[in-house]
């Protein structure tokens, strides 16, 4: 496939929307990194379909796209983790040998992965110098490295204690270590995969300042994200990926939010929320789950004085940046972690064990589908029975597992929820994420529980599966279930919830009714600015009084 040289950015199989980005000025200066026609398929899934990109020194390029759009795959190809099926990459005019991390590093490409690649038991300094010199050298370079790093840190304004063990550092600092690692190798291209997902807004600001400083020094930056706000704030140029294709490129200055959204998901946001948001015409009933002043501390995570109640027939959303105590809150409700203080009442009774929670009839849609929700290594049928293994129809006399009943029930689930598998004896780990989630929904919603805890129910799923999950939740609410929905995706929360509360550093805000819960207000709560909202409320009240 040959390309006309004057159209280096345009993939030929572009979507009808791509004309919008016409007139994007090619970035000034000589391109430092050029990727041409990158293709990669996994099985039948086209992760990257003929993607071409070009990046100049000193430029910040954002790769925007939903989960599964192919952003990370593309970066892993650039960094030599994967070998592309087709396409070439050149750095400063030199072709980059495919499939070699070493070659990528040597060419000056550095990558900060979404899941950090740091050795926790080593110091910051050790992590930075790891692999930067010949393994057989007997010289101890650390004194030298320390001096170089000190100047580097001063220059770009990244401060980390070089002698601290990485394990002891908070997440934001670990990210700095990752960036230092790349800079120490004198990289020319810095790739950051979803860097803001784990940062607090303040840390985010700090990161962006650093990135600006680095770009000013001539570093080319590629930022992968699915967060529009971040992308529009920091980047010079935005490239949008959808379903493995490059669907458009725009200069950030000219970018409009709605256009980007349309490119990202193929339809506009208003359409999306219309699809799912229906008013709750049902009266909310009895509380099904009540947490009263629950405090607990486990490792890095904590909850302080969390009080919340979920009533029948309502969806209570919990928003928050990941790592602010959501998992711990879920574990407390699952009965996996016992609170240090406070009480948890499910259907009016105190929680004593996970089995009790299950037996009481709770739909539990957990965050980590294959690691927690399902027993990887067991079959579809066994997983269908795993939580209710002691009760009929799965068990007789409380101990004998009736395999025929297990299979029959699994087959029901498979048909009702359209779980695609070869047969129900197939190991669950061989199924796709969407099908695993369907089986979880089938299992958890089968007995029409009165309370459902959905933790990130749509993460990592494709659009069809997401719609299915949302439909299931809305259906359950209609039938009178109380649902606690935890998500990092504000759009999802706003589309589904009747009320939204925000969790920040283990503290849960009072729930806001849907008409009160605006993105900006939730955003403030998510970064811990509860005071401003209180002030706002008081102001409103006083205004009302004045009237």
């Amino acid at each position: 496939m040959t390309k006309s040289p004057n159209q280096p950015f345009r993939s030929q199989s572009s979507s009808p929307l791509s004309h919008e980005s016409k007139g994007t000025p090619p970035s000034g200066g000589v391109p430092l990194l050029v990727a041409e026609g990158i293709c990669k398929t996994f099985g039948e899934h086209r992760a990257n379909d003929d993607i071409s990109l070009r990046l100049a020194a000193g430029e910040i390029l954002c790769l925007l796209g939903e989960n599964g759009a192919g952003k990370t795959t593309l970066m892993n190809i650039l960094f030599g983790h994967y070998v592309a099926d087709a396409g070439t990459i050149t750095v400063a005019g030199q072709p980059l040998p495919p499939g070699s991390t070493q070659a990528a590093l040597r060419a000056g490409i550095g990558m900060v992965h979404q899941h950090f690649t740091l050795a926790g038991g080593l110091t910051v300094l050790e992590n930075v110098v790891l692999g930067t010199q010949s393994l057989w050298s007997l010289r101890d370079v650390r004194a030298n490295a320390r001096v170089r790093l000190q100047t580097l840190m001063n220059d770009v304004g990244l401060r980390v204690d070089l002698d601290a063990l990485v394990d002891t550092l908070p997440v934001g600092q670990r990210q700095r270590v990752e960036i230092l690692k790349v800079l120490y190798r004198q990289a020319r291209v810095l790739i950051l995969d979803e860097p803001t997902a784990i940062l607090s807004p303040q840390e985010c600001d700090g990161l962006f300042t650093t990135l600006r400083a680095l770009a000013a020094r001539g570093l080319a930056v590629i930022l992968i994200s699915h967060k529009l706000e971040d992308v529009m704030r920091i980047s010079d140029r935005i490239a949008v990926l959808r379903d493995g294709r490059l669907v458009g490129e725009v200069a950030a200055a000219k970018a409009k939010r709605d256009d980007l959204v349309r490119m990202m998901i193929g339809r506009s946001l208003t359409q999306v929320s219309k699809g799912t948001s229906e008013g709750n015409d049902q009266d909310t009933g009895e509380p099904v789950l009540v947490l009263r002043k629950v405090s607990v501390r486990k490792g890095r995570d904590r909850l302080c004085d969390v009080s919340v109640s979920v009533r029948q027939g309502e969806i209570l959303g919990i928003a928050g940046i990941s790592g602010n105590g959501q998992s711990l809150l879920a574990d407390v409700i699952y009965g996996l972690v016992r609170p240090d203080q406070g009480e948890v009442r499910l259907y009016g009774e105190a929680i004593s064990s996970t089995q009790q929670v299950i037996d009481a009839g709770v739909g539990r849609i957990c965050e980590d589908r294959l690691g927690t929700g399902m027993i990887a290594g067991m079959s579809v049928a066994e997983n269908a029975a795993s939580t209710r293994r002691r009760i009929p129809p799965f068990a007789r006399w409380g101990w004998y597992i009736d395999n025929r009943a297990v299979r029959a029930r699994a087959q029901d689930y498979q048909q009702q929820f359209d779980v695609r598998c070869r047969h129900i004896g197939q190991p669950i780990a061989e199924l796709s994420g969407g099908n695993i989630q369907k089986l979880i929904l089938a299992r958890e919603l089968a007995d029409q529980p009165r309370f459902i805890l959905a933790h990130q129910p749509s993460r990592g799923l494709d659009a069809g599966a997401i719609a299915f999950v949302h439909e299931c939740l809305i259906q359950a609410r209609k039938q009178g279930a109380g649902i606690l929905l935890m998500s990092e995706d504000l759009d999802e929360l706003l589309a589904l919830s009747d009320q939204v509360a925000v969790i920040f550093e283990g503290t849960l805000s009072a729930p806001l009714a849907r008409d009160e819960a605006t993105v900006s207000r939730l955003g403030l709560l998510m970064i811990g600015h509860a005071d401003e909202i209180e002030n706002e409320k008081i102001e409103k009240k006083s205004k009302r009084h004045a009237h």
Partner: protein, 314 residues
């Protein structure tokens, strides 16, 4: 003879140092493997085959140091086999290790039986002679205890700072430690995790084999069946006790050896009242107790026991 007398006798200290030597070799060897993220339960068998081959080399007319090198090479081959299965194929480290122990020791016994089918008394060699360090060996008590040992003992003690220096002062050592902490970190920096681990397991196994060879070439002068007698397993406990630190491994080996030497001496005096089996049992019990005390505080290499497949990332 009470405790005080024993502690003041040069013989006790000399015995402690002697008993500690093979343990130091093997503990360091296991430590190197585990620091790279690989548990090597083949240790017992590798010590056995090291004891056999080192002795065999000398018995066949080779020189003593040649025997040590030969044993080390045999250990490396065992390590290579172990890491092929465990590092490259990612099989269970526990089961592979047990199988390696069975394979190495039974292969050693097989070879021995092939060469000496009718030997009623084990054939003997001239082992390493004690070598008195000039001047230092003349110091009362300490001189006899520490400076009239065989060269292998000096080597064992010298290896402790070498291993420490390797791990904490060289880029290769750093890379090995990182491979045991988080292989993805190593891979992301362009290094080959599998080769690092294989190398570490091979070198570590060589150490174990030399530890075994110490038994036939320095402690005794012949090869006996079952002569390793659980020393390898004790070394695994010592590594945990040492919290994967070479200096503490030396300390652990010395403490253990001191206790062993003490129990032998007590056995002579108190043997009349307490059956000897309980003295023999005490080192094993001590190892378990030491692990109980250290296990909570121990900082495991985080990737220990976790196979790494290239290109596999979260």
């Amino acid at each position: 003879m009470d405790l005080f007398d024993i502690m003041l006798s040069a013989g006790f200290w000399a015995a402690t140092v002697r008993i500690a030597s093979p343990l130091i070799f093997a503990t360091l060897g296991e430590l190197i493997c585990e620091r790279a993220g690989v548990l090597n339960l083949g240790i017992e068998g590798i010590m056995t085959i090291g004891a056999m081959t080192g002795w065999l080399w000398v018995y066949q007319g080779g020189d003593l140091w040649g025997g040590i090198i030969f044993a080390a090479c045999v250990g490396m081959v065992c390590g290579l086999l172990h890491s092929m299965v465990v590092v490259y194929l990612g099989a269970s480290q526990h089961v592979t290790g047990i199988a390696m122990t069975l394979l190495a020791s039974s292969f050693g016994y097989y070879v021995y039986k092939m060469l000496f089918p009718r030997a009623t008394t084990p054939p003997k060699i001239t082992p390493f002679e004690p070598w008195a360090v000039p001047f230092l060996s003349d110091i009362p008590l300490i001189g006899v205890a520490f400076f009239q040992q065989t060269p292998l003992t000096y080597l064992a003690f010298a290896l402790v700072p070498v291993v420490w220096w390797f791990f904490y002062r060289t880029p290769l050592g750093l890379a090995v430690r990182a491979a045991g902490e988080n292989p993805s970190a190593v891979e992301a920096q362009g290094l080959n995790v599998l080769r690092l681990r294989t190398g570490a397991v091979m070198v570590g196994s060589a150490f174990m084999a030399v530890g075994g060879a110490f038994m036939t070439m320095s402690a005794f002068d012949a090869f006996y069946f079952g002569m390793i007698n659980g020393r390898g397993w004790i070394c695994i406990a010592l590594v945990i006790f040492a919290s994967w630190h070479p200096g503490k491994a030396l300390l652990g080996a010395l403490l253990f050896a001191g206790f062993d030497a003490l129990q032998v001496r007590f056995q002579q005096t108190a043997g009349a009242f307490i059956p000897y089996q309980f003295f023999l049992m005490s080192p094993y019990i001590l190892s378990i107790i030491a692990m109980v005390f250290m296990a909570r505080r121990a900082r495991y290499p985080k990737a220990l026991l976790i196979p790494y497949y290239r290109g596999q990332r979260v």
